[in-house]
């Protein structure tokens, strides 16, 4: 029963590899790259002089910007929470007719960039502007960020807890508030965090609506006023706001724990009948779809066909689409690759220091795209003699850094699917390390890696702010070309670019939504 020829195999001299040094080194390098923008920002601020920065921060303009930014963030986040939670509950827990169709319609607006939603509304009516316009547009553009995690959490949560609550004499509404929302608490907070960060970072939508926030002002200072110290001072405040949001979310999340006792049987409980509320709820979903999906898409179509004054160049659309795909694709590959060592380290070799390393990379969330772009471009100009400024490489690195948290989330989830025991089982069956990687680890991990890639790719396609600053001269992406036409009020020419962006982003995000939909079923019994 001995392996044939086994006696010929030499004993492998023992190497004592206690720690995965290579992976550790790669992770530290990645974390360092991610920290660069914030470090640059601090160097810049230091160079401009503390007194100078102080003077630039403590002026009335900052107060106005602060008031505008904060009230918008609070109001939009609240609106999105209400819409997102309501829609998620109706789709997941009630007998809403046509749930599957609504589930798609509710999510698709996520694929429409904020600046396109803004363009769609503002180009139709001059009344859509300022604070109210910004609340309307941003709410419609980002509410799926609450809807998606809440739906997932409601699906994963144990419906028996709700039954227990009802049996304990707590009514339906109070059960919803105390148990259902309690279960989804982490998901709600996570979604709200993303929305708040997005509003802090948004530029295009507010520029179109003529609403002044930190980001629009920084952009103006940098590109029109050429005032680096002023842009830098305002950036510091913006980063501080983002850090506050992040810290607040962590603090709020830390108070509650989700607990699951034992392996849980996933079973369907009866959906709550909507009863007389059915018609109003249906109308609500229809209205939401028209406002979030119908108006932006319809408006783009209207401008494209109603105002064909200028000749449309199919070539420029194709060339812009090509550049968009190249930059986004390269960035997606780069950030997925960067996320791998950190995810592997965190999942396979857990330890406090390593977990801290992984968490530190989430600090990137606090740096809006504009700040990352400014920091990188400033640094290349000041310290690298302009080498790399407005180069393709710099743009791709900026994307990869900006969307790294997205990649890490996806990669980490997929690496978790392939625990070390699979490797061991395969090796005991006579497979060498490379064969194990090829036959076991990769097939399990690749769908998740692909999802992470798609996520970053989509974000790259819809990115405007950093692109405007870092785009190589003479090159246009879909977003920047759209922006150029839109700025010239050539709506008819801008519209096709917006539609291509939507088409490029909507199809994969729908596919990916379906994939994530199937994910829990696959791992159901494996856990």
């Amino acid at each position: 029963m001995v392996a044939p020829g086994a006696s010929l195999v030499p004993l492998v001299p023992q190497r004592r590899v206690a720690r995965p040094w290579a992976m550790l080194a790669a992770s530290v390098a990645v974390a360092a790259v991610l920290a660069l923008p914030l470090v640059f920002l601090l160097i810049e601020a230091h160079g401009a002089g503390v007194a100078n920065i102080g003077r630039l921060i403590f002026r009335p303009l900052t107060g106005t910007l602060l008031w505008n930014t904060v009230r918008l963030t609070v109001v939009v986040t609240a609106c999105c929470a209400v819409i997102g939670i309501g829609a998620a509950y109706c789709v997941e827990r009630t007998d809403l007719p046509g749930r599957r169709v609504w589930a798609v319609f509710v999510v698709v607006p996520l694929a429409i960039p904020d600046f396109v939603v803004s363009f769609g509304w503002a180009s139709l009516s001059p009344w859509i502007q300022g604070f109210h316009g910004a609340v309307l547009v941003m709410t419609l553009a980002v509410y799926p960020l609450v809807y998606l995690p809440v739906v997932a959490s409601l699906r994963g949560a144990d419906p028996v807890q709700e039954e227990v609550s009802r049996a304990l004499g707590v009514g339906r509404v109070r059960t919803f508030l105390r148990v259902t929302l309690g279960q989804a608490r982490g998901a709600i907070l996570g979604g709200c965090l993303l929305i708040a960060l997005m509003i802090l970072a948004e530029y295009g939508a507010f520029e179109i609506l003529g609403f002044q926030t930190f980001t629009t002002e920084i952009f103006t200072e940098f590109t029109i006023g050429f005032s680096v110290p002023a842009a830098c001072a305002l950036s510091l405040v913006l980063v501080l706001l983002s850090v506050l949001v992040l810290g607040g979310e962590t603090a709020a999340r830390g108070q509650g724990r989700t607990m699951r006792a034992g392996p849980m049987a996933r079973r369907m409980t009866r959906r709550h009948p909507l009863g007389r509320a059915k018609i109003p709820v249906l109308c609500g979903f229809a209205l939401l779809t028209v406002l979030a999906l119908g108006v932006p898409v319809g408006s783009c179509l209207y401008w494209m066909f109603a105002r064909t004054s200028a000749a449309l160049s199919g070539v420029s659309v194709a060339s812009a689409a090509w550049h968009t795909a190249c930059y986004s694709g390269a960035a997606a590959a780069l950030s997925t690759l960067m996320a791998l060592p950190l995810a592997l380290l965190a999942v396979r070799h857990p330890g406090r220091a390593r977990r801290l390393l992984e968490r530190s990379t989430y600090l990137v969330l606090a740096a809006p795209g504009l700040v990352i772009a400014l920091a990188l471009s400033y640094f290349s100009e000041r310290y690298a003699d302009g080498i790399g400024y407005q180069s393709q490489a710099l743009l791709i690195i900026a994307y990869a850094v900006l969307f790294f948290p997205l990649a890490l989330t996806g990669v980490r989830a997929s690496v978790t699917q392939a625990p070390v025991t699979f490797d061991e089982a395969a090796r005991a069956l006579g497979q060498r390390r490379l064969a194990v990687l090829r036959r076991v680890t990769l097939p399990i991990v690749i769908p998740g890696l692909a999802a992470a890639f798609c996520l970053v790719f989509l974000s790259g396609v819809t990115e405007l702010t950093a692109t405007l600053i870092l785009i190589p001269t003479g090159v246009q992406t879909l977003a920047t070309q759209f922006w150029a036409y839109q700025q010239n009020l050539s709506y008819g020419q801008a519209a096709p670019f917006a539609l291509v962006i939507i088409a490029v982003a909507a199809v994969p995000s729908y596919v990916m939504g379906r994939w994530f939909d199937r994910l829990p079923k696959r791992s159901e019994k494996l856990s």
Binding site: M1, R16, P419, T421, E424, L429, R522
Partner: protein, 355 residues
Amino acid sequence: MTELCVKGLHKVFGSEPVLKGVDLTVPSGTLAAVLGPSGSGKTTLLRVIAGFERADQGTVTLDGRVVDDGRCYLPPEQRKIGYVPQEGSLFPHLTVAKNIGFGLPRNERRGRQVTELLDMIGMTGLGHRYPHQLSGGQQQRVALARALAVKPTLVLLDEPFSSLDASLRASVRADVRAVLREAGATALLVTHDQDEALSLAGEVAIMQSGQIGQCDTPQDLYTRPADPALAHFLGDANLIKGVLNGTSVRTFLGDLTLDHTADRGSGPVDVLTLIRPEQVRLRKCNGNGHAGKAGLTGRVVDHEYYGHDAVVRIRPDVTEDDLTLVARVMGAASYPAGASVGLSVEGPVMAWPVN
């Protein structure tokens, strides 16, 4: 021919010694079990034998061939070992048939062997299913078939039944034993479940804090443990004081016969005597509280009824200490608390000198 031989195995994690000189031999074609509480190092032992961990000192010999001697080591994929991990760890992206054929050369993966193994584990025709479509017991059986497909020298089972329901455990256990016997495989099972080890294995090694305390057949382990601690670890035990003189032990329960394998000592010595609950015989007393024979009596303290048998705790009427005897009685006889019973001990006993 000896299939597995472990000698003086040491393993340290950080500064904590986990294995402190383990010696273990598993003869060809037998199923042995390593039984120990969690943290005793039994899983580490298994992982060193499989090659997932490397020995710090000592040797592991497989089929006469040193695979790890603390300096050089053979990687796991070249050891021809069948490894059945705790949760089965079936590859989730492969069907049952592909899981079973995983370790085979490419041209044999769809062959007759996979079908035969499916038949052997009683899952004929289920080869196209995915692991998540199987019950826990089925997953465990597929994991075993996957390990057996490569015709291993040795099958290692790491707590293979602990993730199963109690009701499933017995039947899967029987299945596994039948499959292993049919395959004629040498196997080593690691478990913390006494029933599992005693009922499955031909030989059981008890592992305590990084060392093998005793390695014997289940019967010998139970009736002739090496020391009082081992007696206590395995099953229920009554340990009472006595004086050993030649082949007889004098206790308050009377003069008991010493087991023929036990050390007789020289002259009278104070000993600790092991009396298993099955050895304690109870007789119902008549109304006036006296046993029929002029024997020892006691009062029932409590009574746990299990259907096939019952455990009765008795406070003997004459003892120096505050002592309770545990007795196991078969059948439907009922001993209500407070009842008076006659006591006697049956069969030879083990005894160890007290120092």
